[in-house]
């Protein structure tokens, strides 16, 4: 296997002013190309970890691209993408397709009945949940049993016995597992959906085969039965954790008009309601090559990788409909908002402010401000955990996304302290930030840390892969090379200015958490 002789991560000194000599920046050398069908690729050959390649691709779509009625569909797609094609997941594509068509007809009828009759009964107060099978009418019970038997038959577990089955369960995973793939997974966020795996260096062609196959020919197998799995995922992450449901509500309250207001996993009623047609539309718009970026980081020969990629991914057909722009801007918040929650959690507070999207000129001082507040020598620890002794933990996050951003400060109480005391302490810390410049040494310290962090983020192929995925989806992959200089240029005046601009009472939302008696 040819291997690059020299490390491809070239280090270049950008600035040498730091007292600690640390404010240098890395330059990651990325080979970029785009296929005629529009699919873009980023290649970073490096030999730090021999014999393996971290490989994957990003779809530039997340929950922010959804709308009421189909919330969570981006994440649901992430599940569907592991369910196979006419080649992977079955040996009888035609018979398998028949099952899917029959299932669709039954499920469409179930949905129609629920959306009309069951919703109507629910609105009148006759039943507590229109989707709960316990509340089914006789007609629905019959349909549900019919759908269940079709699903079982397709799996070879029905009355027709194993011969009737057409699914080869989880074959996608099995092929990779046999070939030594590891860490195969995917994740969905507000702005993107990312699929990845680590493969042995000699299996790059398998990766190209598998990924270009599922991108040209996903059939949404198990489109209906997989909903149960996602409901369990929702119960696990949101409904059965102490604060999960409240955090979801706080998000929904904080974002007024933006697509960031609904959860990535979607509202439960929408999760039940997606139709096959909606999924197909979504696929045709967002999963076409012009909206995808492939990324390879690791031990490979770039010329050979390029040939493989061209050979395999050229089979993806370009989309006919370009993704529509996200047009709904977050409206200005006019008055402070508050949520008071009680449950099985410690007293705590979260204070949020609307800020700016990633790449905005103010996003860099806001990120630096979070650094000034955080960690053992940060102002929150010194002021709230140690100084006033009222917090067990305290942290700040500058969360800048593709279309909007927020700044969040949260603290958990110590002893008898209340959420109000924590909030008051933050107001005092904030007043100091708005009134006085951050001292030179404190700013230098934070800059040193941010600069060193830029190196640390390059350790490990997967870490670099994830950074490229986010940077390219939200801004441009070059941001990972350009950001260090932008952070280095932030001044104390910038920080005071953003503290004054964004951290206003009318721009504030507060969640107070109290332990229920």
């Amino acid at each position: 296997m040819p291997r690059p002789v020299l490390s491809r991560v070239v280090l270049a000194a950008v600035s040498a002013v730091a007292l600690a000599g640390s404010a240098q920046a890395q330059k990651v050398d990325v080979e970029e190309f785009t296929l005629p069908n529009g699919m873009q690729f980023l290649l970073v050959p490096r030999d730090d970890q021999p014999n393996v390649v971290s490989a994957g691709w990003v779809a530039k779509v997340g929950s922010v691209n959804e709308r009421p009625g189909i919330t969570g569909i981006s994440h649901f797609f992430e599940h569907m993408m592991f369910k196979g094609t006419d080649t992977i997941g079955t040996r009888e594509p035609e018979r398998d397709s028949k099952y899917r068509v029959e299932q669709k007809a039954v499920r469409d009828e179930i949905n129609r009945l629920v959306w009309t009759r069951q919703y109507d009964r629910y609105f009148k107060g006759e039943i507590d949940d229109p989707w709960n099978p316990a509340n089914d009418t006789q007609e629905l019970r019959v349909l549900r049993a019919r759908l269940d038997s079709l699903i079982k038959a397709q799996q070879g577990r029905g009355d027709g016995g194993p011969q009737a089955g057409t699914i080869i369960k989880d074959e996608f995973d099995q092929v990779y597992t046999k070939a030594g793939g590891s860490g195969m997974n995917a994740f969905t966020t507000y702005d993107l959906t990312c699929y990845f795996i680590t493969v042995p260096a000699n299996k790059l062609e398998l990766w190209a085969w598998m990924e270009s196959d599922r991108l040209s020919d996903s059939v949404f197998r198990e489109f209906y039965s997989e909903r149960d799995v996602v409901h369990e995922e929702r119960r696990l992450r949101t409904e059965s954790t102490p604060t999960g449901k409240f955090e979801e509500q706080f998000d929904a309250m904080f974002w007024a008009s933006s697509g960031y207001s609904w959860p990535v996993i979607g509202w439960p009623s929408d999760l039940n309601s997606y139709t096959f047609e909606q999924a197909q539309d979504y696929w045709n718009i967002y999963y076409r090559p012009g909206n995808l970026v492939g990324i390879l980081v690791g031990d490979f020969d770039p010329a050979r990788a390029k040939r493989l990629i061209t050979n395999y991914f050229s089979r993806l057909e370009p989309g006919k409909t370009p993704p529509p722009p996200v047009v709904t801007l977050e409206v200005e918040q006019l008055a402070e908002q508050r949520m008071n929650a009680s449950g099985e959690f410690p007293p705590a507070v979260e204070i949020r402010y609307h800020t700016v999207p990633a790449g905005h000129v103010d996003s860099y001082p806001l990120d630096m401000l979070a650094e000034i507040l955080n960690d053992r020598t940060g102002r929150l620890f010194r002021g709230m955990v140690e100084g006033r002794g009222i917090a067990a933990t305290a942290q700040a996050v500058s969360d800048t996304r593709k279309y909007a951003g927020m700044f969040s400060v949260s603290a958990q109480a110590r002893g008898a302290a209340t959420p109000e005391q924590l909030e008051a302490a933050w107001q005092e810390e904030l007043a100091a930030l708005q009134k006085d410049d951050v001292p030179e040494r404190e700013l230098r310290k934070v800059k040193n840390r941010v600069a060193a962090q830029n190196y640390r983020k390059l350790e490990g192929n997967m870490s670099l892969f994830v950074q490229l995925a986010f940077a390219e989806t939200i801004l441009d992959w070059r941001e990972i090379n350009e950001a260090p200089a932008k952070y280095e240029a932030v001044t104390a005046a910038d920080i005071r200015r953003v503290a004054a601009t964004y951290f206003k009472e009318t721009n504030r939302s507060v969640a107070a958490y109290r332990r229920a008696d």
Binding site: A20, H79, N202, E232
Partner: protein, 515 residues
Amino acid sequence: MMAMRLSTALAAAFLTAFATAPDALAAPSATAVSPTSGPAASIPKRPEEIAFEPLAFEPPDARTFRRTLPDGTVVYLAPAHELPLVTVSITFRGGSSLDPADAPGLASMMARMIREGGTVARKPAAFDEELDFLATEVGVAATDTFTTATMNCLKSNLEESLGLFVEMLRSPGFDGDRLATNKARLHEGLKQRNDDAATIIGREWKRLLYGPEHFEGAEPTAAMVEAIDRNRLAALHRRIVHPGNAIVAVSGDFEEPQMLAKLSKAFDGWERGEPVPPPAAPTAVLAPGLYHVPKEIPQGKVLIGCRGITRDDPDAIPLLLLNEILGAGGFTSRLMQKVRSNEGLAYSVRSAVQPKVDYPGDFKAGFESKNATVALATKIVLDEVRAVRDDLVTEDELDTAKKSVIETFPRQFESKPQMLRVFVNDEWTERPADYWKTFREKVAAVTREDLRRVARKHLDPQTMAILVVGDWDEIAKGDLQGRATMNEFFGGEVKHLPLRDPLTLEPLAEAKAAK
């Protein structure tokens, strides 16, 4: 920063990996011509038709990286010059295993206070400020049987950073105010003991398995935390943190002679004490049965399992493969296919064999399912355990498991710090020298009969505990279709364990009394 908080992202799968696997033994699976240089038409119909070039891998030999300082301290060195960073990690034997009976958590607090309590010469705030200004990261953590201190710094300030790091280890300050702060923070943590079902099930499982007297099952009360003082921390520090009980590992951007010189200087005059002996085995025996802890949540949390094997048990490799097939192999495993993929009863379902070096660890399968289907999912898991005892697994299943373990074997040594962790752990635990060299052959030699034999020996549902955290009234009656209820297990005889007062650990009065 750009929203890279993966905590807000949703992953498709929650896979419990049992990392171990291989490579050179995997045969190319077919003969088709690789299309890499051909025209676009040459895409094979199926992935099995792709031919792969061989990928040779020989596990690195620890001896190549092993050095000794003048005082006898063992050092592993692995230079790598891609990034201007250096990582120094010192592993000391002894962790929570040395917690006194009246002070569970003492080793954890010691580790935290070594890092946060300043040094004899520097107050905590001043010490932290120096490290942060240098952008050097230092961490100290106690696990079951080890205490590990790690320092990562820019090459440009290695001298200063190493100086601070070793000063911290040799003469920690254990500052009184910081200790008060940390005790108060830990106290707040104790209050949250019953908030999350995940915390409850973790605690109760260890209690069932190892007993509250053994350090694995022990938890501190608030009074025990309050009683921790500087003297106890210092005494434990003297026992654990010294060169006679340490192995050093260094990776990153450095040259060997200079690094050895720096380390020799840093360790000079540091008194070598006695090495810490291995921990005692627990005396508790798991009582098989059905257990329940109350918690009002819409989804029950379940663990099913028993005591397992030691790391050097001759059955370890067959059991590893069996576990891959049963529930550790991601979507390909039986539990994932039956419970999640076929029935949609859970998002995450997995099994794990966790051998321990000094005494048997455990085997456990676990999942979360809505209340109504906890019984059904439990039944399926137990049926699958019985199936690997009653019948041979298929040739294809064993083949897939072997290939996966063998093909991913090099990943154990993937990064330099990771490779050094393996070497240090192997030396501390006296792993046989040829273990990695012969690992893939041993995997390849396992038969289907071996798997059935180890299943019969080590995975007996009659000896297992089923632990359920959730809303019992909803869970016990089972699913709408009547496919399973909790009465099917151990004759429906359930032992209701109480929730415990988070500060005193005394059973809470309102908990359901045992029936």
